[in-house]
């Protein structure tokens, strides 16, 4: 089978703003592609182009084997979209919203009703089925919106920041829903600002910034980009820092870094937990007093930060971003 989504050289400008500067993407059939990027990276623009809501200035795309520009109507019949902002009607009830979507997919009155009820049950909304959506919480709206995207059992699903604004429980519920869908064979393109989400859901990840891909691979490959595990030791007394370095340098796979100011010693290691135990033993034998010691695996956040120079947290302070580019 061909890829579920192929995008080549997508360009979109808004006046002087270049939202997409030649974006390439592939989502292999039955997999999840995570599109990571900071605010303004072009995630939503890419999703809107691939779901036929927006025409690119140049470039081409195929979704579910159909050319997006040549035959948008056919694409719409095969995809589901849950956009960044819930596309639901405030004044209709949850049931009425889904029933309407079913009818507009031409499922017929009876199947639309059954499908609406099924989905409301599956998304834990049966209790609120007959309440206008304006009485729903943010998480309920989000779930209803996703349900709307699933009415016609689409082969390819586009989710633009599906868990932004959800509490931890709703978020993990949403993750479970997406995992189940993928197990059922759906291909998913998902954008997110949460690394944990990409780590958890995505088979492969593209990191985009300023409208182009700056890195891609599996979560593990991306983490390797900035090195493996490291032991971080913070000594109580700055005077002991060099001594600790001397004791532990043998465990490190590469040159340790020493930060006098924070009294922190950071050493890249191969065999993380065994090295950690050994390091504690050596320090304790002297003894050197330690105020903190930990084994750190690089998170996708580190990767993201290193690659984009932006903080991933939308509310993050730009001042914290390192100068790595």
């Amino acid at each position: 089978m061909t890829d579920a989504v192929i995008a080549q050289g997508l360009v979109k400008r808004y006046g002087d703003v270049v939202a997409l500067a030649g974006l390439d993407l592939r989502v292999p059939q039955g997999t999840v592609l995570g599109v990571l990027g900071p605010n303004g990276a072009g995630k939503t623009t890419a999703v809107r182009i691939l779901t036929t809501l927006l025409r690119p200035d140049s470039g081409s795309a195929q979704v579910a084997g159909v050319d997006v520009l040549a035959d948008p109507a056919k694409v719409r019949a095969r995809i589901g979209l849950s956009g960044q902002y819930a596309a639901v009607d405030e004044h209709l009830t949850g049931f009425e919203n889904l029933d309407m979507v079913g009818r507009l997919y031409h499922l017929g009155a009876k199947r639309s009703r059954t499908r609406a009820r099924d989905l409301l049950g599956r998304f834990d909304l049966d209790g609120a089925a007959n309440r206008p959506v304006k009485t729903y919480s943010g998480g309920m709206r989000r779930r209803l919106d996703l349900a709307g995207a699933l009415v016609a059992d689409p082969a390819v699903l586009f989710l633009d920041e599906p868990t932004t604004g959800l509490d931890p429980r709703s978020r993990s519920d949403m993750w479970q829903i997406i995992t189940d869908l993928v197990a059922g064979g759906t291909s998913v393109l998902l954008t997110t600002q949460y690394m944990e989400e990409a780590d958890r859901l995505a088979d492969s990840i593209v990191v985009i910034d300023h409208g182009r891909v700056i890195a891609q691979g599996s979560a593990d490959q991306l983490k390797e980009l900035i090195g493996g595990e490291r032991i971080e030791v913070v000594v109580k007394n700055a005077a002991h820092l060099q001594q600790a370095r001397h004791l532990l340098v043998g465990l490190a796979g590469a040159e340790p870094t020493v930060d006098e100011h924070t009294r922190r010693l950071s050493l890249p290691v191969r065999d993380g937990s065994a090295s950690l135990v050994e390091a504690l033993r050596r320090l304790d034998a002297v003894p050197i007093a330690v105020s903190d010691i930990s084994l750190r695996r690089p998170t996708l956040d580190d990767v993201f930060l290193a690659l984009t120079g932006h903080n991933t947290d939308p509310a993050g302070e730009p001042g914290l971003a390192p100068a790595v580019r």
Partner: protein, 266 residues
Amino acid sequence: MNVLWALHDGLVVARRNLIKVKRVPDLLVFTTLQPVMFVVLFAYVFGGAIAVKGSNYREFLIAGIFAQTVLFGTTITGAGLADDIQKGIIDRFRSLPMARSAVLIGRTLSDVANNLIVIVVMSLTGLAVGWRIRTGVLDGLAGFALLLVFAYAFSWVMAYVGLLAPSPEVVNNAAFVVLFPLTFVANTFVPLEALPGPLQAVARWNPVSAVTEAARQLFGNLAPGAPAPRGWALQHPVVYTLLWALGLLVLFVPLATRQYGRAVSR
């Protein structure tokens, strides 16, 4: 086939609009109360000062208010669309394999339903102040149908305006500016002869005059033995009204549909 699906999708959207009217009836209540107030004002405040040869003013007035009311009713089309395209639901509509024109068809159709409700309320008000349909059932129905057809065509003009405008408020204000002169420089509230010369010429060809004249004819509200109006338009008011309706549809259905495509893909 495609046309049938477009109509099907349009009806689905129309149903959604009507559910909305049911949940938030404010707009409909207001558009209904306004003409009731007009009837009362004109019938009792100005009525004494306006002379209609050979007829009673209230009898003369009601058809004019009908015309004005259904025309103002089309503001809901424009404001509703301007509101819709600001809301998230439009993205859902656009990502579905539904007919492109369905949102517009649905909107204009649900406004026919709104106008029907308004007409019922207006008729009751009219009956209360002494207005009657003096012809037969068929003529009466034809009169109402003509009003609705004309308003339907005009609602496509408003759809276009609604898609150009940045917000529902702008639509309401713009509609006010256009609809007030359109419905007043006509035979709606005063006999044509009472207007000053240049305005009289405009009013004679104003389609609102024609639809009003046609309604008066069909309801039997014209004074017996009244002289035939001057000008082809008012001598053939039904045909003239239908020609206008057709012309507006031919022009504004494609314009509005094209503008819809532009407005939503920003």
